[in-house]
């Protein structure tokens, strides 16, 4: 047997997601010795699952919420029958059990006198037209009732995926609508790995920071910039990270990036040797806080970050402008936003930014299907938005001989056009005596420039060129004033 890591078993005091028969998921903190109520599905004792490996399902049986490992029988093939819905009429009396009968069954089940399966069987037997249903319909009926009366639950281990799914389903706005597939792509584009150094602005309540930290496995540094009094990385606590991983997450307030002129070190404020009792405690507290900020500043100003990831409610350009200098060459810069439109201006800004290469705006599409033998199809309802990603690569721009800016190229083209005009005029005026040499030389240079620019600035449309025009003109005007 391979040795089990502490992360492979369910530990007391950890966050646990409990998946219930209804497919709803409940999040609990597992306290040793406690009873966990799952509402109509019954109650189980925390100690029954603490210390066991993740992954198993449990069935609540018997009177005093005993549990046993439950393993499904497997899914049976649906056997085709000649039944169809011709004979089926919408009739509430086809179920012979009354509401009170069912309630009684339910309470018996809750007491542990009946198993979920027995209740479902009773419902099936007293359903007068059950046999007339198609095999598919019968299977669906049993499944539907099973979701109500079975007493099987599954503890789910919090991972970046399961935590993300839980919040995406329960409260997507909390995590700014970032969906599992979008997050997975963010992780790929960021090239996060053990030992890397990341600069993050995360307004998804720490969803992104959590996923990054998981992928770093306790090695490396994440520096998160936050606004407000505290970093709101609520999601991190659901991940059951060990201290080693938690230590990789460092934070720094936007307000504290640069040391304010009036900021004093704790030593400047007080003389330690004079302090006693509470004052001394206070001093040490302040010193600790001060050192944390100093340490984070150091991490930031050392630069050479391996990625910049921004998922902020604030204008992305304004953040990129400030943070790009700290990112190393050939490293990804990623902006996440819940809506694509919020990234459009950023994307045009990026295209003009000489330090960024090839901005790309992507959205992800995800569809889930029901898979059952003979009954596989996409689910009837699907997800809407999962957010958008804008990715680019930080590059080191340096003047290159052949690299013409758009303006220079336009000027060059204009010059060529004029030269051509001149040439034509000259040719018309004089006949064949003039020499065309200087003109062809100029045209040749133009060609070269064209090709060089084409090499990189591909995809630039005429429309963006007008945009560039605007800019140059407004600059000109500013100068005049």
């Amino acid at each position: 047997m391979a040795a089990l890591n502490p992360t492979d078993i369910i530990n007391a005091g950890e966050h646990v997601f409990i998946k219930m028969p209804s497919d709803n998921v409940k999040c609990i903190v597992l306290k040793a010795g406690s009873s966990v109520s799952l509402g109509k599905f019954g109650t189980f004792k925390a100690n029954d699952i603490i210390g066991h490996a993740w992954g198993n399902s449990y069935e609540i049986y018997d009177r005093d919420s005993k549990t046993r490992v439950y393993h499904p029988e497997g899914i049976s093939e649906v056997e085709e029958t000649a039944n169809n819905n011709r004979e089926i009429v919408d009739d509430p009396t086809s179920q012979k059990l009354t509401l009170d009968d069912i309630k009684a069954l339910k309470s018996e089940g809750l007491k542990g006198e009946l198993t979920g399966e027995e209740i479902v069987n009773k419902l099936k037997e007293s359903h007068t037209t059950f046999d007339k249903k198609t095999a598919y319909s019968q299977a669906k009926y049993l499944q539907k009732k099973g979701k109500k009366f079975h007493k099987v639950f599954t503890p789910i281990k919090p991972t970046a995926y399961s935590v993300n799914e839980y919040f995406y389903v329960k409260n997507p706005s909390k995590i700014r609508d970032i969906r599992m597939d979008t997050l997975s792509q963010l992780l790929s584009y960021s090239n996060v790995h053990s030992g890397c150094k990341l600069l993050v602005v995360d307004d998804t309540q720490g969803m992104i920071v959590s996923a990054l930290a998981e992928r770093m496995g306790g090695k490396g540094t994440i520096l998160g910039l936050y606004d407000g009094d505290n970093p709101h990385y609520d999601i991190v606590k659901y991940m059951n990270f060990n201290q080693e991983t938690l230590d990789t997450i460092k934070v720094l307030s936007w307000l504290r990036i640069h040391r304010p002129a009036d900021e004093k070190t704790p030593d400047e404020m007080q003389d330690v040797t004079q302090l006693t009792g509470k004052d001394l405690e206070g001093y040490h507290r302040r010193l600790k806080a001060y050192n944390i900020v100093e340490e984070s500043r150091k991490v930031l100003f050392e630069g050479n970050f391996d990625a910049l990831i921004v998922a902020s409610q604030y204008q992305p350009e304004s953040i990129l402008e400030k943070l790009l200098p700290y990112v190393a060459g050939s490293r990804p810069v990623i902006v996440y936003h819940g809506t694509k439109e919020a990234l459009l201006e950023t994307s045009t800004w990026m295209r003009k930014c000489p330090d960024l290469l090839a901005p790309q705006l992507t959205e992800s599409w995800l569809r889930k299907s029901q898979v059952l033998p003979g009954r596989t199809h996409p689910e009837m309802s699907t997800w809407g938005t999962g957010g958008s990603l804008l990715t680019a690569t930080k590059v080191i721009d340096q003047p290159v001989q052949a690299a013409l800016t758009k303006r220079e190229r336009l000027a060059m083209e204009k010059k060529n056009a004029e030269a051509k005009k001149l040439k034509r005029a000259r040719e018309e005026a004089e006949s064949a005596t003039s020499s065309p040499a200087p003109v062809t030389a100029a045209a040749a240079v133009g060609d070269v420039a064209d090709e060089a620019v084409e090499g990189v600035e591909e995809g630039t449309t005429a429309a963006t060129m007008t945009d560039g025009d605007h800019e140059s003109r407004s600059i000109k005007r500013a100068k005049q004033e």
């Binding site: 997975s184 992780l187 050939s330 459009l344 930080k394 052949a402 060089a452």
Partner: protein
């Protein structure tokens, strides 16, 4: 290794000095569609349509640097090879997985440093690189491929990319011969024509006392149904199926004229045409042209804003007819230009103070999806191995139960 100072490059991580050195793999980025990978060797050249580049010029540069060709005809960017870039430049020996599927599978399987995983088949090694990066430095990838030449090629790549320690590559037909691994891995990925044939052996490869995840990657729904049967048979639970696609938006800035602006433009054109018309015609309606000429002369100098333009969005400066002083108009124009934001107010005032009449429209940033894009890659089917999954398969259990007695009959 001749020079001891050179830091060995690995696709699984970055180099500490982030500097290009002899023997490094470097991605030559010319454009999104034009990238290639080279191995830097002093004395060699990288040649392309836009010029040639000396490898020796690259040595010592920081990754990400823009490099001009030595003919001065173009430039490119020198990028660090990451698994994601490798996916875009690798030589295709088979169909490969792209970022949407790679990312989603890794996320669902909860891959992280230190884990062990099976991948079959290796194919062109696109996914292998991403997995190795994510499992590094202490995890391990067992990769299986039944095609000997592909094994050789992949082996060479893993070596050149500094991944040999992370990947064990074996030439083996896993459908026939199994993985020959027991109690070893946390996750399994099957990209095989008949994944159902490898499920039983995959089950044995899982670490038996903990939870594990399996993913099968099949383009056809028929393959899915056979795999579901096999997974259920072997006791895997929580079977889920997903499809994931990524959409790459094209971004454009398009001018958005108001109808008034467009009409104004047209009026200007008409006026020009009139002016260019032969004198005889002009003489006929002398009075009218006289008037118009005097006014148009004025407009040409300042800015033409028709008082009749009925646009409530007009800024006050622009709404004032031609009497407005030139400097005021300049102001309003420059605001338009510096903030071509959607919803900006000054749209209609955006005409030009240049001798040539020019009206600047509002620019709108839009996105569109390419006309043709990927509609399907494969079905990603996931299942969970639980400690309770171990033990005999369903048919074995049933056979045993039938042999013992016929007391326990499943409900349906």
């Amino acid at each position: 290794m001749s020079e001891t100072a050179v830091e060995k490059q690995s696709f699984a991580t970055y180099k500490k000095n982030n500097t290009i050195e002899e023997g490094d793999n470097v991605v030559m980025y010319l454009s999104k569609e034009n990238m290639s990978i080279i191995r830097v060797k002093d004395g060699e050249y990288f040649n392309c349509k836009f010029g040639n580049y000396k490898h020796s010029d690259m040595i010592g540069l920081e990754y990400g640097t823009k490099l001009g060709s030595n003919t001065g005809r173009g430039f490119l960017f020198l990028l660090y090879p990451t698994p994601e870039l490798w996916t875009l430049v690798l030589p295709h020996r088979t169909q490969i997985l792209y970022i949407a599927d790679i990312s989603f599978v890794m996320n669902y399987l909860n891959l992280k440093p230190g884990m062990s995983m099976i991948e079959s088949g290796t194919g062109s090694g696109s996914f292998s690189h991403s997995i190795a990066r994510t499992l590094a430095p202490h995890g391990h990838l067992y990769s299986f491929e039944y095609h000997q030449e592909r094994v050789n090629a992949a082996k060479k790549e893993f070596e050149e990319h500094g991944l040999s320690d992370l990947v064990t590559l074996r030439c083996r037909d896993v459908c026939k011969d199994g993985f020959d691994l027991e109690n070893k891995v946390d996750a399994v990925f099957l990209d095989l024509p008949a994944p159902w044939e490898a499920v039983a052996s995959a089950k044995k490869a899982f670490k038996q006392n903990k939870v594990g995840k399996i993913c099968t990657f099949s383009p056809c729904i028929e393959q899915i149904s056979r795999t579901v049967t096999a997974l259920t048979e072997q006791g895997f639970v929580d079977i889920q199926m997903y499809e994931c696609l990524i959409r790459f938006n094209e971004i454009r800035v398009i001018p958005m004229w108001t109808i008034d602006e467009a009409m104004e433009k047209q009026r200007a054109v008409e006026k020009k045409r009139k002016r260019a018309a032969p004198r005889v015609v002009r003489d006929d309606n002398n009075n009218n042209t006289q008037d118009e000429e005097s006014s148009s002369g004025h407009i040409n100098k300042s800015i033409k804003v028709e008082p009749s333009v009925d646009d409530s969005n007009l800024s006050s400066a622009a709404a004032t007819p031609s009497s407005t002083t030139e400097s005021e108009m300049e102001d309003s124009v420059s605001t338009t230009v510096s903030t071509p934001v959607i919803g900006s107010e000054t749209t209609a005032s955006a005409s030009e103070a240049e001798p040539r009449e020019r009206i600047e429209p509002k620019n709108v940033v839009v996105t569109r999806l390419p006309a043709e894009q990927r509609g399907h890659t494969s079905y990603l089917m996931f299942a969970t191995f639980t400690p309770a999954t171990q033990g005999p398969s369903l048919t074995e259990t049933k056979a045993a139960a039938a042999a013992a007695s016929s007391s326990s009959a499943p409900a349906k």
